[in-house]
Symmetry: C2
Subunit: 450 residues, 2 copies
Amino acid sequence: MVQETKPWEILKEYMQSESTHEIKTYLAQLTTEDVVATVSHLNEQQRLTLLSLLTPEEAAELIDDIPSVQAAKLIEEMNSKEASAIIAELPSDDQADFLGEIPEKNAEAIMQEMPQKEAENVRELIRYDDDTAGGLMVTEFLVFEEEVTVGEVVEDLQSNADRYEKYNLQYIYVTHIGQFSGVLNMRTLLLSKPTVLLSEIVLRSALTVKDKDPLEDLINFFDTNDFYGVPVVDDRLQLKGVVLRKDLREAQAEQENVEHLETQGIVGGEELRTMSVWLRARRRLSWLSVNILLNIAAASVIAVYQDTLSAVIALAVFLPIISDMSGCSGNQAVAVSLRELSLGVIRPFEVARVWMQEVTVGLLNGLVLGMLIGAAAWIWKGNVYLGLVVGGALSINTLIAVSLGGTIPLILKRMNVDPALASGPILTTVTDMFGFFLALTFAGTMLNSL
Amino acid sequence: MVQETKPWEILKEYMQSESTHEIKTYLAQLTTEDVVATVSHLNEQQRLTLLSLLTPEEAAELIDDIPSVQAAKLIEEMNSKEASAIIAELPSDDQADFLGEIPEKNAEAIMQEMPQKEAENVRELIRYDDDTAGGLMVTEFLVFEEEVTVGEVVEDLQSNADRYEKYNLQYIYVTHIGQFSGVLNMRTLLLSKPTVLLSEIVLRSALTVKDKDPLEDLINFFDTNDFYGVPVVDDRLQLKGVVLRKDLREAQAEQENVEHLETQGIVGGEELRTMSVWLRARRRLSWLSVNILLNIAAASVIAVYQDTLSAVIALAVFLPIISDMSGCSGNQAVAVSLRELSLGVIRPFEVARVWMQEVTVGLLNGLVLGMLIGAAAWIWKGNVYLGLVVGGALSINTLIAVSLGGTIPLILKRMNVDPALASGPILTTVTDMFGFFLALTFAGTMLNSL
C-alpha cells in the first residue's frame, strides 16, 4: 500500500511555514469532503489561525462547508471584528443561525460591528423559532413597488448586479405600500416592454406562507407546489423574506438527524469528537445516568426473587438474554413507529391500530425466539421444564415488548414528550421488569421440576 | 373533545357509494399529509379501486405522494395496462425506480405496454445502480445540435410546450454529433437574435458528471457548485441525462434513513405496518435470530462461572445492569462514529485517532457510572466489596464499550461490511462477554469477603 500524504498534513506544513499563498491555493483545489476532514484535523487554535489567513469571503466559504457546530464554535472564539466580516458574507438565514447559536454576549459584540441595517435585520431573524418560516427564510430577495416600470427594474438589476449576485434571482416580488401583492418571473420581465408598470404584469394569485408557519407545513407546501422558493408574509401581509426549497430540505434532514442521534442516547444536538471531552462526557452521562437508575429499578425485580434464583442458578444465564432480546424486539417496533410518524402514515392517536398491527408480529417472533432459547436451555441442562420457563418468558415478553415499542412513541408524542429521546429507556425498563418477573415466577411455580 | 371525522372515513364512504366525482374533488383538496394518512388507512384492494377511479395523471400524482414502498406494491398489483398509463405520467427517474423495484416479470409486462422508445429508455435506466448518476438522472431535458439557430429552438419550444411541460427548463443542452458540447441558459437564449447559431453562444466550459459516478461524488459536486442540475455523459461523452439537485437530496435522505433503521434492527429497507405480517415478521426475525445466537454465546460466560454466582447470588441482580449499561455507552459511541463518517470528519482508517478521543470519555463516564452502581450495591447489601466488584466491572467495561463502539464502525467500513447493520450486535456481544467475565472473576478473587 502506498502511503499517501494526507491533506491535513500538507496544510499543517504550509501553516507552519506561514505561506499564505500556498494555503489558499491548496484549499481552493480540495474537494468539500477533504476540506471537512482537514479542518477536523486541526485544533481550535489552528483553525482560528487558518481563518485569519483567508479573506472574509474565503473564510465564509470554509465556514459554509464544515459542520455547523464546528463553525459556530469558531465564530464564537474569533474576535468580533473578524467574525462580523465573515458573517457579512453569509446569506441572512445562516447569519441568524450562527448568531442565534453562540452565547448572546458574543453575538451582540459581532452585531455591533455590522452595518446597522444588517444588524437589525439579523436581530429580527433570530427572534423567530428555527423551525418556522421566519427562522428558515432568507432576506436577500428582489422587491419593487407596483408603480415601478419594467425598464427601471432592469436598470436597477444591471447597476446593482454585484450586490444581487448572491440573491435568489428566479423571481421578483412586488409590493403595494409595503404589502405583498404578487410575483413576477424573470422571463416575463425580460419579455415585457420597458414602459410597462409592474402592476400590469404582476401575478397576483401567487401563494405565500406565514412567518410563524412550522416546518411541517412548509414541507407540505413544497411537496404540493413545485416552486423554487415561497414569499413569507407576517400578519399584516408585509413581505418579510423568502423560504427556499433547498433550505427546507436541509432543515428537515437536520431534524431527522437529531431524532436519530437521540434514539441512540446522543442528547443536546450533534456531537463531534473535536468538541471538549468534558462537554461530550457530560452530555452522554445525562442520558446514561437516568438510564442506570431505570436499570436498577428494573433489576430490583430479580432481588425480590433471589430465593428462586438461588434454587435454579441456571436461570441467571438467561435473564440477561431475555432482557436484551426483548429490548431489541421492542426497539424495532419503536423505529418503525418513529418512521411512520415522520412519514405521516400514522397519527399519534392511533394507538389501538398500531397495537393491532404489532401484536401478530409479536406473537410470531415471540414464538420463534422462545422456541430457540427454550431449546438451548433444554439441551444445555437436559431439563425440559427449564426450557419451558425461559422460552415461555421470552415469548410472552417479546409480545409485551413489541406492543409497548409500537405504541409508546405515539403516547409520548401526544403528551408532547420527545418520542425519539424517551421511548428507548422507558421501553427497556418496563420490558426488563416484565421479563425478569415472568421468568422468575414461572420458575417459582415449577421449582420442584427444575 | 370534539370527535372530528377522519379524512379516510370520509373517503371510504365516498368509495362505498362509488361517487367518483366526489372522490376526486375530495382528494384534490386534501393536503399531502392527509393523502398519505388516508391511503395508509385503505387496504390494498381499496387502494387499487381508488387508483382505478382516477385518471392516469391523478393516479401518478397520488403515487408520487405516498411512501415509495407502498407505491411500488400498488404498481406491482395493478394490471399492466393501467400501470403503464400511470407510469407514463412519471418522470423517467421515478419510472426506472418503480420498475426496478417490482418483480422483473411484472416490470416486463408493463414495459410491453409502453411506447417502444420510452420502454427502451427505462430499460437503459434500470441497468444503472440506484446510487449512481445514471440511476439518479432524468432523461427529460432539452437538447439541440450546435448548428440549430436560436429561432428554431424558440419555435420548437413553443410548438412542443405541452410535451416539455414536465421538463427541467432551466438550461438547454447542446451537442455536436451526439457528443456533449455545452449548455445554454434560458436567459441567454431569450436575449439572442433568432438567426444566431447555438454553436456561437453555447457555454463550452460547462461541467458534467459521468454516468457511473457514485452518490457521494454528486453530493460533493452540488456542494461546490450552485447548479440546479448537471448533465450526465458516458465514457464516449454521449449526453445521457441530467441529475437534478432535488433528486440528490432525496437519495441522500433515503440512504441515511436506511442506515438509521438498520441500527435499530430494521433490515431490508423501509417497513410499513401496512405490509404483510409475514414479511414484517420474517425481516425482523432475520436480525433477531442472529442476535439471539450472539446473546447465548455471551451469556455462556455466566454459565462458566456458575459456582461463583451461586456463592454470591446478589451478583445476578447486577449482571443485566452491567450488560445493558455497557451496551448503551457503546451505542452512543457507535452513533457518533456513524455520524462522523457520513459527515466526512473522520475517515475509516483513523481507528487510532477515534480511540484516543473515546478513551477519555470512557474513563470519565465509566468512573461515574461505576461509582453509582457500586454505591447502590454497597448500600443494598452493606458490603463494600460487592460495591467494588460491580462498580469496578462496570467502570472498566464502559471503557471497553466506548473504545469498541467508536472503532468498530470504522473497521467494518474498511472491510466493506455495512457498519449501521453490524456494529450494534457485534458491540453488545463483546461487551456482554467482557462485562460478565469482569464481574464474575472480580467476585471470584474476593469470594471470602463477599
